[in-house]
Protein backbone atom coordinates (compact mmCIF):
# COMPACT_ATOMS: atom_id res chain seq x y z
CA UNK A 1 0.00 0.00 0.00
CA UNK A 2 2.69 2.46 1.08
CA UNK A 3 6.14 2.00 -0.35
CA UNK A 4 8.96 4.34 0.56
CA UNK A 5 12.35 4.02 -1.12
CA UNK A 6 15.53 5.75 0.05
CA UNK A 7 13.76 8.92 1.17
CA UNK A 8 16.12 11.78 1.94
CA UNK A 9 15.63 15.38 2.96
CA UNK A 10 18.08 17.94 4.30
CA UNK A 11 17.10 21.24 5.84
CA UNK A 12 19.32 24.28 5.48
CA UNK A 13 21.67 22.56 3.05
CA UNK A 14 25.22 23.99 2.91
CA UNK A 15 24.66 26.19 5.93
CA UNK A 16 26.08 25.81 9.45
CA UNK A 17 22.59 24.67 10.51
CA UNK A 18 22.46 21.85 7.99
CA UNK A 19 20.18 19.12 9.31
CA UNK A 20 19.92 15.80 7.54
CA UNK A 21 16.45 14.99 8.79
CA UNK A 22 15.85 11.91 6.69
CA UNK A 23 18.82 9.84 5.56
CA UNK A 24 17.43 7.15 3.35
CA UNK A 25 14.23 5.77 4.80
CA UNK A 26 12.99 2.49 3.37
CA UNK A 27 9.62 1.24 4.47
CA UNK A 28 6.99 -0.93 2.91
CA UNK A 29 3.57 -1.13 4.51
CA UNK A 30 1.06 -3.72 3.33
CA UNK A 31 -2.63 -3.03 3.00
CA UNK A 32 -4.45 -3.12 6.31
CA UNK A 33 -1.33 -2.93 8.46
CA UNK A 34 -1.41 -0.74 11.58
CA UNK A 35 2.13 0.49 12.14
CA UNK A 36 3.23 2.37 15.24
CA UNK A 37 6.26 4.60 14.77
CA UNK A 38 8.56 5.53 17.67
CA UNK A 39 11.80 7.44 17.97
CA UNK A 40 13.39 10.14 20.05
CA UNK A 41 13.01 13.86 19.44
CA UNK A 42 14.67 14.79 16.17
CA UNK A 43 14.63 11.23 14.85
CA UNK A 44 12.68 12.41 11.82
CA UNK A 45 9.23 11.07 12.68
CA UNK A 46 7.30 14.22 11.94
CA UNK A 47 9.44 15.04 8.92
CA UNK A 48 8.70 11.57 7.57
CA UNK A 49 4.99 12.10 8.16
CA UNK A 50 5.10 15.50 6.43
CA UNK A 51 6.82 13.87 3.47
CA UNK A 52 4.07 11.27 3.26
CA UNK A 53 1.31 13.87 3.30
CA UNK A 54 3.09 16.18 0.87
CA UNK A 55 3.51 19.11 3.26
CA UNK A 56 7.20 18.55 2.53
CA UNK A 57 8.62 17.34 -0.76
CA UNK A 58 11.68 15.11 -0.22
CA UNK A 59 15.03 15.91 -1.87
CA UNK A 60 15.31 12.40 -3.26
CA UNK A 61 13.70 8.98 -3.02
CA UNK A 62 10.26 7.83 -4.01
CA UNK A 63 6.94 7.39 -2.27
CA UNK A 64 4.26 5.21 -3.80
CA UNK A 65 0.82 4.98 -2.28
CA UNK A 66 -1.72 2.57 -3.72
CA UNK A 67 0.57 1.88 -6.71
CA UNK A 68 0.79 5.57 -7.56
CA UNK A 69 4.08 7.45 -7.47
CA UNK A 70 3.14 10.47 -5.38
CA UNK A 71 6.68 11.69 -4.70
CA UNK A 72 6.08 15.03 -6.41
CA UNK A 73 2.42 15.45 -5.53
CA UNK A 74 1.47 18.40 -3.38
CA UNK A 75 -0.49 17.98 -0.15
CA UNK A 76 -3.86 18.91 -1.64
CA UNK A 77 -3.57 16.27 -4.36
CA UNK A 78 -2.40 13.56 -2.00
CA UNK A 79 -5.35 14.15 0.25
CA UNK A 80 -7.41 11.83 -1.93
CA UNK A 81 -5.12 8.99 -0.80
CA UNK A 82 -4.03 9.95 2.68
CA UNK A 83 -5.82 11.60 5.53
CA UNK A 84 -4.13 12.76 8.67
CA UNK A 85 -4.74 13.83 12.21
CA UNK A 86 -2.35 16.44 13.54
CA UNK A 87 -0.62 16.49 16.90
CA UNK A 88 -2.03 19.93 17.65
CA UNK A 89 -5.82 19.72 18.14
CA UNK A 90 -6.06 23.30 16.86
CA UNK A 91 -4.33 22.41 13.59
CA UNK A 92 -6.63 19.70 12.31
CA UNK A 93 -9.88 21.60 12.61
CA UNK A 94 -11.00 25.13 11.84
CA UNK A 95 -12.10 26.90 15.00
CA UNK A 96 -13.75 29.76 13.14
CA UNK A 97 -16.10 27.36 11.36
CA UNK A 98 -18.91 25.33 12.84
CA UNK A 99 -18.70 21.61 13.55
CA UNK A 100 -20.87 20.79 10.53
CA UNK A 101 -18.81 23.06 8.28
CA UNK A 102 -15.63 21.31 9.40
CA UNK A 103 -17.19 17.95 8.65
CA UNK A 104 -18.44 19.21 5.32
CA UNK A 105 -14.89 20.21 4.36
CA UNK A 106 -13.74 16.69 5.13
CA UNK A 107 -16.76 15.22 3.35
CA UNK A 108 -15.62 16.86 0.09
CA UNK A 109 -12.04 15.65 0.38
CA UNK A 110 -10.93 14.10 -2.87
CA UNK A 111 -14.16 15.24 -4.54
CA UNK A 112 -14.76 18.17 -6.81
CA UNK A 113 -15.87 21.18 -4.79
CA UNK A 114 -18.87 22.65 -6.53
CA UNK A 115 -21.24 25.52 -5.95
CA UNK A 116 -23.85 23.33 -4.31
CA UNK A 117 -24.68 24.13 -0.71
CA UNK A 118 -21.97 22.99 1.68
CA UNK A 119 -24.52 21.96 4.28
CA UNK A 120 -27.77 20.19 3.50
CA UNK A 121 -30.02 17.81 5.34
CA UNK A 122 -28.58 14.65 3.80
CA UNK A 123 -25.10 15.63 4.94
CA UNK A 124 -26.40 16.72 8.33
CA UNK A 125 -27.93 13.29 8.92
CA UNK A 126 -24.65 11.62 7.98
CA UNK A 127 -22.67 13.93 10.29
CA UNK A 128 -25.07 13.28 13.15
CA UNK A 129 -24.78 9.55 12.68
CA UNK A 130 -20.99 9.63 12.59
CA UNK A 131 -20.70 11.97 15.59
CA UNK A 132 -23.12 10.00 17.70
CA UNK A 133 -20.63 7.14 18.05
CA UNK A 134 -18.41 9.50 20.05
CA UNK A 135 -21.09 9.77 22.76
CA UNK A 136 -19.97 13.32 23.40
CA UNK A 137 -23.32 14.86 22.51
CA UNK A 138 -21.73 16.69 19.58
CA UNK A 139 -24.45 15.50 17.21
CA UNK A 140 -26.75 18.05 18.84
CA UNK A 141 -24.21 20.85 18.54
CA UNK A 142 -23.61 20.80 14.77
CA UNK A 143 -23.99 24.56 14.44
CA UNK A 144 -21.57 25.36 17.28
CA UNK A 145 -18.22 26.86 16.44
CA UNK A 146 -15.37 24.35 16.59
CA UNK A 147 -13.48 26.73 18.86
CA UNK A 148 -15.96 25.98 21.66
CA UNK A 149 -14.81 22.35 21.88
CA UNK A 150 -12.02 21.02 24.10
CA UNK A 151 -8.80 19.68 22.64
CA UNK A 152 -9.89 16.09 23.14
CA UNK A 153 -13.27 16.66 21.54
CA UNK A 154 -11.56 18.33 18.60
CA UNK A 155 -9.18 15.38 18.14
CA UNK A 156 -12.14 13.01 18.23
CA UNK A 157 -13.88 15.08 15.55
CA UNK A 158 -10.61 15.15 13.58
CA UNK A 159 -10.65 11.35 13.56
CA UNK A 160 -14.23 11.31 12.32
CA UNK A 161 -13.25 13.83 9.64
CA UNK A 162 -10.23 11.79 8.58
CA UNK A 163 -12.39 8.75 7.95
CA UNK A 164 -15.51 10.46 6.61
CA UNK A 165 -14.43 9.77 3.05
CA UNK A 166 -12.92 6.44 2.07
CA UNK A 167 -9.17 6.88 2.07
CA UNK A 168 -6.19 4.64 1.40
CA UNK A 169 -4.23 5.38 4.55
CA UNK A 170 -4.54 7.15 7.82
CA UNK A 171 -1.60 9.07 9.29
CA UNK A 172 -1.67 9.93 12.97
CA UNK A 173 1.03 12.28 14.17
CA UNK A 174 1.15 11.92 17.97
CA UNK A 175 -2.50 12.81 17.89
CA UNK A 176 -3.02 12.16 21.58
CA UNK A 177 0.13 13.87 22.88
CA UNK A 178 -1.59 17.14 23.76
CA UNK A 179 -4.50 15.53 25.64
CA UNK A 180 -5.11 14.73 29.29
CA UNK A 181 -4.81 11.02 30.22
CA UNK A 182 -8.56 10.36 30.21
CA UNK A 183 -9.09 11.94 26.80
CA UNK A 184 -5.92 10.24 25.57
CA UNK A 185 -7.34 6.83 26.41
CA UNK A 186 -10.66 7.76 24.83
CA UNK A 187 -9.14 8.95 21.55
CA UNK A 188 -6.83 5.92 21.39
CA UNK A 189 -9.73 3.52 21.88
CA UNK A 190 -11.68 5.36 19.22
CA UNK A 191 -8.69 5.22 16.88
CA UNK A 192 -8.32 1.51 17.43
CA UNK A 193 -12.03 0.86 16.88
CA UNK A 194 -12.11 2.86 13.66
CA UNK A 195 -8.99 1.18 12.31
CA UNK A 196 -10.35 -2.27 13.17
CA UNK A 197 -13.72 -1.55 11.56
CA UNK A 198 -12.45 -0.04 8.36
CA UNK A 199 -9.26 -2.08 8.07
CA UNK A 200 -7.54 1.05 6.84
CA UNK A 201 -3.75 1.10 6.50
CA UNK A 202 -2.53 3.19 9.41
CA UNK A 203 0.69 4.83 10.56
CA UNK A 204 0.68 6.16 14.10
CA UNK A 205 3.54 8.14 15.55
CA UNK A 206 3.73 7.96 19.30
CA UNK A 207 6.06 8.92 22.10
CA UNK A 208 4.77 6.23 24.37
CA UNK A 209 6.45 2.84 24.20
CA UNK A 210 3.38 1.38 25.87
CA UNK A 211 1.06 2.61 23.13
CA UNK A 212 3.54 1.52 20.47
CA UNK A 213 3.25 -2.10 21.57
CA UNK A 214 -0.36 -2.07 22.75
CA UNK A 215 -1.81 -0.87 19.47
CA UNK A 216 -1.22 -1.96 15.93
CA UNK A 217 0.36 -4.93 14.24
CA UNK A 218 3.87 -3.70 13.67
CA UNK A 219 6.32 -1.29 15.31
CA UNK A 220 9.01 0.73 13.57
CA UNK A 221 11.70 2.78 15.27
CA UNK A 222 13.34 5.75 13.58
CA UNK A 223 16.71 7.11 14.56
CA UNK A 224 18.71 9.84 12.83
CA UNK A 225 16.47 9.70 9.83
CA UNK A 226 16.63 5.94 9.29
CA UNK A 227 14.59 2.89 10.18
CA UNK A 228 16.61 1.12 12.88
CA UNK A 229 14.07 -1.35 14.18
CA UNK A 230 11.13 -3.07 12.55
CA UNK A 231 9.24 -5.72 14.52
CA UNK A 232 5.98 -7.50 13.91
CA UNK A 233 4.22 -10.81 14.47
CA UNK A 234 5.52 -13.20 17.17
CA UNK A 235 8.62 -11.21 17.92
CA UNK A 236 6.52 -8.16 18.63
CA UNK A 237 3.82 -9.81 20.67
CA UNK A 238 6.39 -11.34 23.01
CA UNK A 239 8.08 -7.98 23.47
CA UNK A 240 7.75 -6.01 26.66
CA UNK A 241 8.08 -2.30 27.13
CA UNK A 242 11.45 -2.96 28.77
CA UNK A 243 12.75 -4.82 25.74
CA UNK A 244 11.74 -1.91 23.59
CA UNK A 245 13.33 0.63 25.92
CA UNK A 246 16.54 -1.40 25.92
CA UNK A 247 16.62 -1.42 22.15
CA UNK A 248 15.84 2.24 22.16
CA UNK A 249 18.86 2.82 24.39
CA UNK A 250 21.06 0.57 22.30
CA UNK A 251 20.46 2.38 19.05
CA UNK A 252 21.10 5.65 20.80
CA UNK A 253 24.36 4.18 22.01
CA UNK A 254 23.70 5.19 25.58
CA UNK A 255 21.80 4.13 28.64
CA UNK A 256 18.71 6.16 29.20
CA UNK A 257 18.69 8.19 32.37
CA UNK A 258 15.12 7.60 33.24
CA UNK A 259 13.28 4.74 31.66
CA UNK A 260 10.14 5.66 33.51
CA UNK A 261 9.82 8.75 31.35
CA UNK A 262 9.21 6.54 28.38
CA UNK A 263 6.99 3.96 29.94
CA UNK A 264 3.88 6.08 30.28
Amino acid sequence: MINVQDLRITFGKDTPNENKALQGINLSVAEGEFVTVIGSNGAGKSTFMNCLTGELIADSGTITIDEKDVSRWKAARRSSLVSRVFQDPLAGTCEALTIEENLSLAHSRGQKRSFGLAINNTKRELFKERLSRLRLGLEDRLADKMGLLSGGQRQAVSLIMATLQPTKCLLLDEHTAALDPRMQAFVLELTNDIVQETGITTLMITHSMGQALQFGTRTVMLHEGQVVLDVSGEERSSMTIHDLVDMFGKVRGEELDSDSLLLG
Binding site: L97, L105, A118
Partner: protein, 298 residues
Amino acid sequence: MNLIAFMGAIELGLIYGLIALAVFLSFRILDFPDLTIDGSFPLGAAVCATMIVSGFNPLLATVISFFAGGMAGLVTAFLNLRFKILNLLASILTMIALYSINLRIMGRPNVAIITEETILTPFEGQGLPGYYLKPIIAAIIVFVVAIIVARFLNSDYGLAMRSTGANQKMARAQGIDTNKTTYIGMALSNALVGLAGALFAQMNGFADITIGTGTIVIGLAALIAGEAIFSTRGMLMAVLACIFGSIVYRIAIGLALNADSIGLEPSDLNLVTALLVTIALILPGAKNPLKKLMKRGN
Protein backbone atom coordinates in the same frame (compact mmCIF):
# COMPACT_ATOMS: atom_id res chain seq x y z
CA MET B 1 -29.37 67.07 6.63
CA ASN B 2 -32.03 67.49 3.96
CA LEU B 3 -33.73 64.78 1.94
CA ILE B 4 -31.41 65.03 -1.04
CA ALA B 5 -28.33 64.80 1.17
CA PHE B 6 -29.90 61.86 3.02
CA MET B 7 -30.70 59.95 -0.17
CA GLY B 8 -27.19 60.79 -1.41
CA ALA B 9 -25.76 59.24 1.75
CA ILE B 10 -27.78 56.07 1.17
CA GLU B 11 -26.66 55.88 -2.45
CA LEU B 12 -22.99 56.28 -1.48
CA GLY B 13 -23.49 53.88 1.41
CA LEU B 14 -24.79 51.21 -0.97
CA ILE B 15 -21.92 51.66 -3.42
CA TYR B 16 -19.35 51.57 -0.64
CA GLY B 17 -21.23 48.57 0.74
CA LEU B 18 -19.68 46.62 -2.15
CA ILE B 19 -16.30 47.81 -0.92
CA ALA B 20 -17.10 46.74 2.64
CA LEU B 21 -18.04 43.37 1.16
CA ALA B 22 -14.70 43.25 -0.66
CA VAL B 23 -12.86 44.08 2.55
CA PHE B 24 -14.85 41.35 4.30
CA LEU B 25 -13.71 38.86 1.65
CA SER B 26 -10.03 39.79 1.80
CA PHE B 27 -9.51 40.68 5.47
CA ARG B 28 -11.99 38.33 7.09
CA ILE B 29 -12.48 35.37 4.79
CA LEU B 30 -9.01 35.07 3.26
CA ASP B 31 -7.07 36.73 6.09
CA PHE B 32 -5.30 38.73 3.38
CA PRO B 33 -4.88 42.43 4.25
CA ASP B 34 -5.39 43.94 0.83
CA LEU B 35 -4.86 47.60 -0.01
CA THR B 36 -5.20 47.01 -3.76
CA ILE B 37 -8.72 48.39 -3.55
CA ASP B 38 -7.42 51.96 -3.24
CA GLY B 39 -6.32 51.40 -6.85
CA SER B 40 -9.01 49.08 -8.15
CA PHE B 41 -11.83 51.47 -7.16
CA PRO B 42 -10.59 54.29 -9.46
CA LEU B 43 -9.66 51.56 -11.97
CA GLY B 44 -13.29 50.49 -12.20
CA ALA B 45 -14.39 54.11 -12.53
CA ALA B 46 -11.70 54.88 -15.13
CA VAL B 47 -12.45 51.85 -17.29
CA CYS B 48 -16.19 52.48 -17.15
CA ALA B 49 -16.02 56.24 -17.83
CA THR B 50 -13.50 55.88 -20.63
CA MET B 51 -15.52 53.15 -22.34
CA ILE B 52 -18.71 55.16 -22.05
CA VAL B 53 -17.05 58.27 -23.49
CA SER B 54 -15.74 56.11 -26.33
CA GLY B 55 -19.30 55.06 -27.14
CA PHE B 56 -19.51 51.59 -25.63
CA ASN B 57 -22.68 50.27 -24.08
CA PRO B 58 -22.74 51.35 -20.39
CA LEU B 59 -23.76 47.87 -19.26
CA LEU B 60 -20.81 46.34 -21.08
CA ALA B 61 -18.56 49.05 -19.59
CA THR B 62 -19.80 48.10 -16.11
CA VAL B 63 -19.13 44.40 -16.68
CA ILE B 64 -15.64 45.12 -18.05
CA SER B 65 -14.93 47.27 -14.96
CA PHE B 66 -15.87 44.29 -12.80
CA PHE B 67 -13.34 42.11 -14.60
CA ALA B 68 -10.68 44.85 -14.61
CA GLY B 69 -10.92 45.00 -10.82
CA GLY B 70 -10.62 41.22 -10.69
CA MET B 71 -7.42 41.37 -12.74
CA ALA B 72 -5.94 43.83 -10.25
CA GLY B 73 -6.72 41.39 -7.43
CA LEU B 74 -5.06 38.56 -9.36
CA VAL B 75 -1.87 40.63 -9.73
CA THR B 76 -1.66 41.18 -5.97
CA ALA B 77 -2.33 37.51 -5.27
CA PHE B 78 0.29 36.53 -7.86
CA LEU B 79 2.94 38.75 -6.26
CA ASN B 80 2.16 37.25 -2.86
CA LEU B 81 1.79 33.58 -3.80
CA ARG B 82 4.33 33.25 -6.59
CA PHE B 83 7.10 35.49 -5.26
CA LYS B 84 6.30 35.31 -1.54
CA ILE B 85 6.09 39.09 -1.23
CA LEU B 86 4.38 40.00 2.06
CA ASN B 87 0.65 40.28 1.30
CA LEU B 88 0.35 43.86 2.52
CA LEU B 89 3.36 45.00 0.52
CA ALA B 90 2.22 43.12 -2.60
CA SER B 91 -1.10 44.97 -2.47
CA ILE B 92 0.64 48.34 -2.04
CA LEU B 93 2.78 47.62 -5.10
CA THR B 94 -0.30 46.88 -7.20
CA MET B 95 -2.07 49.93 -5.80
CA ILE B 96 0.76 52.30 -6.71
CA ALA B 97 1.10 50.77 -10.17
CA LEU B 98 -2.62 51.22 -10.73
CA TYR B 99 -2.29 54.98 -10.22
CA SER B 100 -0.24 55.22 -13.40
CA ILE B 101 -2.39 52.69 -15.21
CA ASN B 102 -5.56 54.61 -14.36
CA LEU B 103 -4.03 57.82 -15.74
CA ARG B 104 -3.10 55.94 -18.92
CA ILE B 105 -6.62 54.58 -19.28
CA MET B 106 -8.27 57.95 -18.84
CA GLY B 107 -5.57 59.93 -20.60
CA ARG B 108 -6.17 62.75 -18.14
CA PRO B 109 -6.90 63.01 -14.42
CA ASN B 110 -10.66 63.44 -14.80
CA VAL B 111 -13.26 62.13 -17.27
CA ALA B 112 -16.75 63.62 -17.17
CA ILE B 113 -19.69 61.44 -18.29
CA ILE B 114 -22.47 63.59 -16.89
CA THR B 115 -24.01 64.05 -20.35
CA GLU B 116 -23.34 60.52 -21.57
CA GLU B 117 -25.62 57.53 -21.57
CA THR B 118 -25.23 55.40 -18.42
CA ILE B 119 -27.01 52.38 -16.96
CA LEU B 120 -29.34 54.91 -15.31
CA THR B 121 -30.46 56.47 -18.60
CA PRO B 122 -33.24 53.99 -19.43
CA PHE B 123 -34.89 54.69 -16.07
CA GLU B 124 -34.65 58.46 -16.20
CA GLY B 125 -37.56 60.61 -17.30
CA GLN B 126 -40.11 58.21 -15.80
CA GLY B 127 -41.15 60.80 -13.25
CA LEU B 128 -38.86 59.60 -10.49
CA PRO B 129 -36.34 62.27 -9.41
CA GLY B 130 -32.67 61.34 -9.59
CA TYR B 131 -32.15 61.39 -5.85
CA TYR B 132 -34.67 58.55 -5.52
CA LEU B 133 -33.75 56.72 -8.70
CA LYS B 134 -30.03 56.40 -7.98
CA PRO B 135 -30.34 54.77 -4.54
CA ILE B 136 -33.03 52.41 -5.86
CA ILE B 137 -30.88 51.22 -8.78
CA ALA B 138 -27.86 50.98 -6.50
CA ALA B 139 -29.87 48.99 -3.94
CA ILE B 140 -31.07 46.48 -6.54
CA ILE B 141 -27.59 45.89 -7.92
CA VAL B 142 -25.86 45.79 -4.54
CA PHE B 143 -28.34 43.43 -2.88
CA VAL B 144 -28.38 41.04 -5.83
CA VAL B 145 -24.58 40.94 -5.72
CA ALA B 146 -24.59 40.52 -1.94
CA ILE B 147 -26.98 37.58 -2.08
CA ILE B 148 -24.92 35.90 -4.80
CA VAL B 149 -21.76 36.37 -2.71
CA ALA B 150 -23.47 34.97 0.40
CA ARG B 151 -24.72 31.97 -1.56
CA PHE B 152 -21.23 31.43 -2.93
CA LEU B 153 -19.72 31.52 0.57
CA ASN B 154 -22.24 28.90 1.68
CA SER B 155 -21.30 26.57 -1.16
CA ASP B 156 -18.75 23.78 -1.04
CA TYR B 157 -16.26 25.97 -2.85
CA GLY B 158 -17.01 28.98 -0.67
CA LEU B 159 -16.46 26.88 2.42
CA ALA B 160 -13.10 25.79 1.00
CA MET B 161 -12.21 29.46 0.58
CA ARG B 162 -13.22 30.24 4.15
CA SER B 163 -11.08 27.42 5.51
CA THR B 164 -8.14 28.76 3.46
CA GLY B 165 -8.15 31.97 5.48
CA ALA B 166 -8.91 30.26 8.78
CA ASN B 167 -6.47 27.34 8.74
CA GLN B 168 -4.33 26.81 5.61
CA LYS B 169 -2.63 23.63 6.78
CA MET B 170 -5.94 22.00 7.58
CA ALA B 171 -7.38 23.20 4.28
CA ARG B 172 -4.54 21.54 2.36
CA ALA B 173 -4.94 18.35 4.37
CA GLN B 174 -8.58 18.31 3.21
CA GLY B 175 -7.45 18.51 -0.41
CA ILE B 176 -8.01 22.22 -0.93
CA ASP B 177 -5.64 23.99 -3.31
CA THR B 178 -5.16 27.05 -1.10
CA ASN B 179 -3.35 29.00 -3.81
CA LYS B 180 -6.30 28.63 -6.14
CA THR B 181 -8.86 29.66 -3.55
CA THR B 182 -6.73 32.69 -2.68
CA TYR B 183 -6.51 33.72 -6.35
CA ILE B 184 -10.25 33.39 -6.80
CA GLY B 185 -11.06 35.16 -3.55
CA MET B 186 -8.76 38.08 -4.30
CA ALA B 187 -10.12 38.35 -7.83
CA LEU B 188 -13.70 38.34 -6.55
CA SER B 189 -12.94 40.91 -3.85
CA ASN B 190 -11.34 43.36 -6.26
CA ALA B 191 -13.92 42.69 -8.95
CA LEU B 192 -16.58 43.91 -6.50
CA VAL B 193 -14.49 47.05 -5.97
CA GLY B 194 -14.20 47.54 -9.74
CA LEU B 195 -17.98 47.25 -9.99
CA ALA B 196 -18.34 49.80 -7.17
CA GLY B 197 -16.04 52.14 -9.10
CA ALA B 198 -18.14 51.77 -12.25
CA LEU B 199 -21.36 52.49 -10.32
CA PHE B 200 -19.75 55.47 -8.60
CA ALA B 201 -18.64 56.99 -11.91
CA GLN B 202 -22.08 56.58 -13.48
CA MET B 203 -24.04 57.87 -10.48
CA ASN B 204 -21.79 60.90 -10.01
CA GLY B 205 -21.08 61.60 -13.67
CA PHE B 206 -17.31 61.45 -13.54
CA ALA B 207 -14.20 59.38 -12.90
CA ASP B 208 -11.29 60.99 -11.15
CA ILE B 209 -7.79 59.77 -10.37
CA THR B 210 -8.11 60.79 -6.72
CA ILE B 211 -11.34 59.00 -5.77
CA GLY B 212 -9.44 55.94 -4.55
CA THR B 213 -7.63 57.63 -1.68
CA GLY B 214 -8.65 56.07 1.60
CA THR B 215 -11.10 53.59 0.05
CA ILE B 216 -9.70 50.81 2.21
CA VAL B 217 -10.24 52.81 5.41
CA ILE B 218 -13.83 53.60 4.47
CA GLY B 219 -14.37 49.92 3.69
CA LEU B 220 -12.95 48.92 7.05
CA ALA B 221 -15.05 51.54 8.82
CA ALA B 222 -18.18 50.15 7.19
CA LEU B 223 -17.18 46.57 8.00
CA ILE B 224 -16.55 47.40 11.65
CA ALA B 225 -19.77 49.39 11.90
CA GLY B 226 -21.72 46.52 10.37
CA GLU B 227 -20.24 43.89 12.65
CA ALA B 228 -20.76 46.08 15.69
CA ILE B 229 -24.44 46.79 14.96
CA PHE B 230 -25.69 43.62 13.32
CA SER B 231 -25.45 39.96 14.22
CA THR B 232 -23.02 38.26 11.88
CA ARG B 233 -24.05 34.67 12.54
CA GLY B 234 -24.27 33.00 9.18
CA MET B 235 -22.85 34.19 5.90
CA LEU B 236 -25.95 35.99 4.65
CA MET B 237 -26.15 38.08 7.80
CA ALA B 238 -22.42 38.82 7.70
CA VAL B 239 -22.67 39.97 4.09
CA LEU B 240 -25.75 42.11 4.68
CA ALA B 241 -24.10 43.60 7.78
CA CYS B 242 -21.31 44.94 5.54
CA ILE B 243 -23.81 46.80 3.40
CA PHE B 244 -25.97 48.11 6.23
CA GLY B 245 -22.83 49.07 8.12
CA SER B 246 -21.73 51.09 5.13
CA ILE B 247 -25.09 52.89 4.92
CA VAL B 248 -25.10 53.63 8.65
CA TYR B 249 -21.57 54.91 8.40
CA ARG B 250 -22.45 57.22 5.49
CA ILE B 251 -25.46 58.63 7.29
CA ALA B 252 -23.41 59.21 10.43
CA ILE B 253 -20.74 61.02 8.42
CA GLY B 254 -23.42 63.02 6.62
CA LEU B 255 -24.97 64.10 9.91
CA ALA B 256 -21.59 65.05 11.32
CA LEU B 257 -20.66 67.11 8.28
CA ASN B 258 -24.07 68.79 8.13
CA ALA B 259 -24.26 69.77 11.76
CA ASP B 260 -23.32 73.44 11.76
CA SER B 261 -22.63 73.43 15.48
CA ILE B 262 -19.65 71.06 15.05
CA GLY B 263 -18.19 73.23 12.31
CA LEU B 264 -16.89 70.41 10.10
CA GLU B 265 -16.28 70.93 6.37
CA PRO B 266 -16.72 68.23 3.70
CA SER B 267 -12.95 68.28 3.28
CA ASP B 268 -12.64 66.96 6.84
CA LEU B 269 -14.19 63.65 5.71
CA ASN B 270 -10.97 61.63 5.67
CA LEU B 271 -9.90 62.94 9.06
CA VAL B 272 -13.28 62.03 10.54
CA THR B 273 -13.11 58.57 8.96
CA ALA B 274 -9.60 57.94 10.25
CA LEU B 275 -10.66 59.03 13.74
CA LEU B 276 -13.76 56.84 13.67
CA VAL B 277 -11.82 53.76 12.57
CA THR B 278 -9.13 54.46 15.17
CA ILE B 279 -11.73 54.72 17.91
CA ALA B 280 -13.41 51.54 16.71
CA LEU B 281 -10.08 49.71 16.83
CA ILE B 282 -9.18 50.97 20.28
CA LEU B 283 -12.56 50.31 21.87
CA PRO B 284 -12.45 47.14 23.92
CA GLY B 285 -14.33 44.20 22.52
CA ALA B 286 -14.42 45.61 19.01
CA LYS B 287 -13.72 42.93 16.45
CA ASN B 288 -10.62 44.11 14.80
CA PRO B 289 -9.56 43.12 11.29
CA LEU B 290 -6.35 45.09 11.71
CA LYS B 291 -5.19 43.21 14.79
CA LYS B 292 -3.46 40.66 12.59
CA LEU B 293 -1.46 43.44 10.98
CA MET B 294 -0.23 44.69 14.31
CA LYS B 295 1.21 41.33 15.19
CA ARG B 296 4.64 40.50 13.88
CA GLY B 297 5.10 37.86 11.23
CA ASN B 298 2.57 36.33 8.96
